[in-house]
């Protein structure tokens, strides 16, 4: 019997932080990663458009016969997770719930901050997920649109990053949060600066590790954890040419990528004129 792979998708390179944790937690598993690099970023785009992209990617990865799908993009998790869970024949795991559960578990003051892209924050997905666990927790959110370009430019420890973090995080600091969810897979690259601005009393929650633990739990329950002692194989698909993905991705994953293939994901809808 052949053991199926775990599918993981993100708008680009950011989800590699989640892949890294999955490999760390389950080194024997095969994985297929898809980065939608031709259409990145998702965080500035509308829910309707992100849902359309997520459906195309879900269909592609299911056609590759995966056993579980990880939506390793906060924006896509926020707006498309329930739709994918309804429509796809396999378990679908997002990054919001695991991050929210962790934040609810570690806060002492009951004041949790969440930062993310415009798409993630406007969806209120983290606020809803935290309040489902504990309705008494106060959730304070902030959009940080400049953090993704800063991380991709490699400006994670200079004065521009420091000033930008100061502007975005000022309000959260004043509200006295003791826990801050990094609600975008790029933000862990700016962890140093974010921690510096927030101060030592604030716990930073990175959803990647929590998500990997959730995936392991689900596969174990379903008897689908691969029993092998060997290391798994890792395949990568991107929608733009691979060069940029590999270059920036090395900052996230570290080490050798192996094969990266380019695919097209366009759907075949006729050209319309819907207002």
């Amino acid at each position: 019997m052949a053991w199926k792979a775990i599918g993981i998708f993100d708008s680009g390179v950011g989800g590699l932080t989640v892949l890294r944790e999955i490999i760390g937690a389950m080194p024997q598993e095969d994985t297929i990663y898809l980065g939608d690099t031709a259409r990145v970023p998702y965080g500035t785009k509308s829910p309707e458009t992100v849902i359309r992209f997520a459906r195309q990617i879900g269909a592609f990865l299911v056609s590759r016969d995966i056993k579980l799908l990880v939506v390793a993009c906060n924006t896509a998790s926020a707006v498309s997770l329930e739709i994918l869970q309804e429509e796809l024949p396999i378990p679908v795991v997002g990054v919001i719930e695991p991050g929210a559960a962790r934040a609810a578990a570690v806060t002492r003051s009951g004041r949790v901050g969440v930062i993310g892209t415009a798409g993630t924050i406007r969806s209120s997905a983290y606020t809803k997920a935290i309040k489902r666990i504990n309705p008494d927790i106060e959730v304070i959110t902030g959009e940080c649109p400049m953090f993704v370009p800063l991380a991709e430019e490699g400006w994670v420890d200079n004065e521009v990053a420091r000033l930008t973090a100061g502007i975005y995080l000022q309000g959260l600091k004043e509200k006295g949060v003791d826990t801050l969810v990094l609600g975008c897979t790029h933000y862990p690259l700016l962890k140093g600066i974010i921690g510096e601005v927030m101060g030592p009393g604030v716990t930073l929650v990175d959803s990647a590790a929590e998500t990997a633990a959730r995936v392991r739990e689900i596969l174990e329950t379903r008897g689908e954890l691969r029993p092998s002692q060997e290391s798994g194989n890792h395949h990568f698909f991107v929608t733009d040419v691979p060069a940029g993905f590999i270059r920036i991705g090395n900052r996230f994953l570290g080490g050798d990528f192996g094969d990266v293939y380019q695919i097209r994901l366009d759907d075949e809808a006729p050209q319309g004129g819907d207002k």
Copy 2:
């Protein structure tokens, strides 16, 4: 006889600076603007992918029966202009040549700076265009990936913008350029800061006005300038939902947008696996 419209496309809102100049120069002309907001930005993506998007958009606008196409995006002009000129049955005008011609005309020192996205700068399109006019001009280029997010965040006059401009423009300043081409349609929004950093001795060249003059010239030569005294009609198509385009676009165009329609541009290629 019905007079056809001028077609204009950009990856998003940036090309509205060009549309504004076209309306100013030829207020009687009808226009059709397409912003590829579902896939913006182009500047970080590969030539192959940008060419594919440009072909889809060219085909869409030609199907709307335009008389001339303006590629109002520096990245798309840099990598796809010649292909569109070869393949489409109408004149196609980019923003690179008009900006390059202006820079070559105004420089006294013979040292011209060009700033743009990674895609535009790596194509060397401005350098080649300037050297075709005058091979003795020395062209110094710089990539400024943070300028587009800064302009879209509305951070055009704060300390983050000032520091960022200082970092990106330092090298160009030291090389003593007396002319600087703003090789991205977003950059005019940062003109104040860029001018401040470069100093009063440096002329900033904005391609939008030059491009509008070129369009007028071509239509006049072909006898296709609309003779009416009435103001033209302006239609807008976008690939993401219109709300974000209208909100950010108001910073570029100012005033009322009228109707903005959403369309899909996906091509019908099968899902492949080309490496």
